[in-house]
Every structure is written in structure tokens, then in C-alpha cells.
């Protein structure tokens, strides 16, 4: 019963929050609702007993991704409304609605009565993290490693891009010369 209540509550809230994200013209509202929606999505994981994924969702999306988003948002004036240019509005609505419909059909299509079944059911008595680990490091090992390599590539690229001027220090101590003088005097003594 608790799960049912929690599920519907979370669903309503999540949809509402994401609606705000899409509709709001205010950066701050959009960002906040997006982050809050992410938190609620982790709630679904908890309800499903996938604690590990829930926490990962929290840490990765809420704690890291969204935080970086908001860090970027600080370069804008968060208190001002964004001017949107949705022309032609009808076309945007139509295309957006169609894509949403297609997505719903793709995901909701298989869900009719008991047609959907878990391939890898949870092991009783084993921690949730272990379950994820087992799947990741057995069946999905190759995609996992590919993803890891891709991330590594991205990281290296990022470091190279950001590190072009790393030899120039903003905080370089220019008083070194003076310190040299003093040290010399000290040595002379």
C-alpha cells in the first residue's frame, strides 16, 4: 500500500516537475524542478528495491550532472525570465507531441498484462549492489568497458582542451625574487 501511494505521488510530482522544467521561462525554476525530478526518479528505484541504482541516480544525476548544469547557469542572470522564440508554435507542438506519442507507444506497447518479464530477477539475500555488479561484469561487460573507454577518451580530450595554457599560472608568486634576496642575505650571515 505504501508503495502504491508513494508511486502515484512520485509519478504526479515527477511529471509536474518536468512540466515545469519544460514550461518555465525562468532558469532557476527549470533547473530546480529538473533536479527535484531527478531526486524523485531515484525514489522509483527505491520503491522497486533497487537501492543501489537509486543512490547512483542521486549521486550521479543530482549530485554531479545537475550540479554542473547549475554551475553553468551561474553565468546567466538567474532572476530574469528567458525570452523564448517558438515559431512556428503549432509545428513545434505537433512534432513534440508526435515524438512523445511514439516514445510512449514504444515503451508502453509491450506492457499489456504479464507480457513483460524480468530477464535477470533479483537474487534473494544478495545485496542490490552485487546484483548490479554481477550483470554488469558478466553479460554487459563489453558495453560497460566500451562505455568506460569512451568516457576515458572524453576525459583525456577535456583535459587537453582545458590544459592548453596550464603552464601560465594566475597565482604565480612574483615575490620570489625578493625572497631570493632575503635568503641570500640570510645565507651570507
Amino acid at each position: 500500500m505504501y508503495e502504491a501511494i508513494a508511486f502515484y505521488l512520485f509519478s504526479a510530482l515527477t511529471i509536474g516537475l518536468f512540466l515545469i522544467t519544460v514550461m518555465s521561462k525562468n532558469v532557476l525554476y527549470a533547473m530546480t524542478s529538473l533536479a527535484a525530478g531527478m531526486v524523485l526518479i531515484s525514489g522509483f528505484f527505491f520503491i522497486l528495491g533497487a537501492d543501489f541504482l537509486g543512490v547512483v541516480q542521486l549521486i550521479v544525476y543530482v549530485g554531479a550532472v545537475m550540479a554542473l548544469y547549475s554551475f553553468a547557469m551561474m553565468f546567466f542572470d538567474a532572476t530574469r525570465d528567458i525570452k523564448e522564440k517558438n515559431t512556428p508554435a503549432a509545428l513545434v507542438f505537433l512534432l513534440g507531441g508526435l515524438s512523445a506519442l511514439v516514445l510512449v507507444l514504444i515503451f508502453a506497447g509491450p506492457i499489456h498484462s504479464d507480457a513483460i518479464q524480468a530477464l535477470y530477477p533479483m537474487h534473494e539475500g544478495v545485496g542490490n549492489a552485487q546484483d548490479v555488479g554481477i550483470v554488469l561484469f558478466t553479460k554487459y561487460l563489453v558495453p560497460f568497458e566500451v562505455a568506460a573507454v569512451m568516457l576515458l577518451v572524453a576525459m583525456i580530450a577535456g583535459i587537453i582542451l582545458a590544459g592548453k595554457k596550464m603552464d601560465q599560472s594566475l597565482t604565480k608568486d612574483t615575490s620570489v625574487d625578493d625572497a631570493d634576496e632575503i635568503l641570500k642575505q640570510k645565507d651570507a650571515k
Partner: protein, 350 residues
Amino acid sequence: MEVVSYRSVETFVQHIPEVTALGVWIKAIIILAVISAIAGFGTYVERKVLAFMQRRLGPMHVGPYGLLQIIADGIKLFTKEDIVPQNANKFIFMVAPVITAATAFIALAAVPVFPDFTIPEWIPVIGGTFVPSIAADLNIGILFVLGMMAAGLYGPLLAGMAQANKWGLIGAARTAVQFLSYEVVTGLSILAPIMIVGSLSFVDFNAAQAGGIANWLVWKQPVAFVLFLIAGFAETNRTPFDLLEHEAEVVSGYATEYSGMRWGMFFIGEYANMITISVIAAVVFLGGYSADGMGWLWIMLKIAFFFMLMLWVRAAWPHVRPDQLMWLCWKVLMPIAVINVVITGIVMMV
């Protein structure tokens, strides 16, 4: 009464009574009430300890030895005018401190606070209820706490962005940078003990270190312990890493425009986080608690030690610069943590 399902009963060493929803409720209330009170009391202790270390007296006038100062402060905070700046985003501005306090307390749900006990039978209604030490004993407890503390970064962040104040914005930027960076160190430093124990549950950690000081993880993972402590200081925004609200540079950072109880919620959140970090450090590295005898006193003392350490450091050490902070994180602490994890892994494999 439905059984709370997310418990790995198997991990408990000895038989314990069944945890009921009522017990969880009671625990939640206890945490809320007591930790709030302790957070308030923490301000008093902090002022006193800092004063003593500077050979001052600290608060003396309200109540005996200034003990009632917390109440006076509370009354002050509650009755003070709640000011919202004109250009601020009102809703976000008002919500931000709530996020800080809420996440701090949510994190506490997965942390063992006080040993478990059974309420005596003669008390009506709730008599005989078993109150667990952890409100929600998730098997990924440590990860949950870290995740919640990561979510807690939204408090200062949104506060700083919503208040239309340059100091607030800089404070918010510093929040994002500092919390994000040090989360990595926290995670990596705690990864090595997790590898050793093989679980993310506090209960397992506790069990793994049972049987005396020699079994404490701090001996096996001293580097991780130090890294975790340093990162913990940064995560709780304590000296020498309290750059988010560094008065000399950014007035009061994200809290610049806050007043009254909204400011007070930031404060409570900060102190709750301090307690959380102290508890984690005590449970993960210093042997945790034992259910028998004076166990509850020991865990209290351990937590108190970490709490005290934070005050002590504040009294003794200066701030670091923001660039030093980042440098320390990414170029010193993180490599060490990674190396520590690698070495731990090699040792375990061999």
C-alpha cells in the same frame, strides 16, 4: 504493522527484535528532535570551546554558564524578521534553506544514531516497541548518506543563485565547486574500507570491526581515514575549508541575504552534517558501536571526539585559498585516494 522490507536481517550477528513502523517513526522523531537540539547545543559548544581556546569565557549571561544561550538564540531566530530581498527569486530563496536542513536529516535516516533499545512495557501505547539504531537500514547505507549529502549541495547553491546578490552568487559557485570536487575524494577514500568489508551497510561495518580496538579499520586504512577526514571538513564547510561563506572575501557567501529562521536552517543543516560525518567516521574507521554494556557511551565519545576535532581545528588553523583548495583536491587528495584504492585492491587480490 507491516514489516519494513529493506532490511538484510542476515547481517545481524545476534538476534534482535523485529523492527516495526512505529519504531521507525519514533526513531525519526528522536533524530529530528535530538539532532536539532544537538545542533543548537553544538553552537553553544562551539562558542564555548573557541572561547576557551582563546582564553575567553564565551557566553556567560543567559542561564548558568550561558547554557540558556541556545534558547535565547532560538527565540531570536524564530522571532526575527524574515527578509526576502526585492530582486530575489522569492520561491527558490525561501525553499533553499529547507533543502539544506531536509537533506541533512534525510541523510541521518541511514546513519546509526544512538544504540537500539526497547521502550519499557509500562509506557502506554508505545510500550514494548523496539527502536532501532538506524531508522532506515539500507544495505547501501554509506552510499545513501553520501548521495544525500551530495543533494544537500542544492541548499547553498540555490540560495546563492536566488538572492540576486554577487556575494551570494560567488558563494554558490564555490559551493558547487567545493562540494563536487570533494565528493570525489570522499567517495574514493571510503571505497578502500568498503572493499575490505565488502558491504555498503553500516551494520556490516560495525560487525566487521567488532572485537576490540585492534580490529578498527583505521589501522588497516590510515590513509583513507585521513583523506576522509579532510574531505569531511570540506563537505561540511568547516574551517579550513569554509570558503562558501568566508566573511573576509564574500561577506557571508550564500547566506548573505538570509535572516531569522531561514538562516537558522542553514545552520542546523551544517551542524547535522557535522554529526553525520562524525558518525560515519566513528562507525567506518573507529569501530562503531557495540550493543552491549557501555557501547553506547563509547560511540558517543567517538562522535564527540570528531565533533570536537572540528571545533579544535577551527580554533587553530587558518583558511586556505580557493585555488589551493582545488589544487589540494584534484592534485593531491584524489591521486592519493586512487592509489590507496589500487593498493588496497592489489593487497586484497594477493
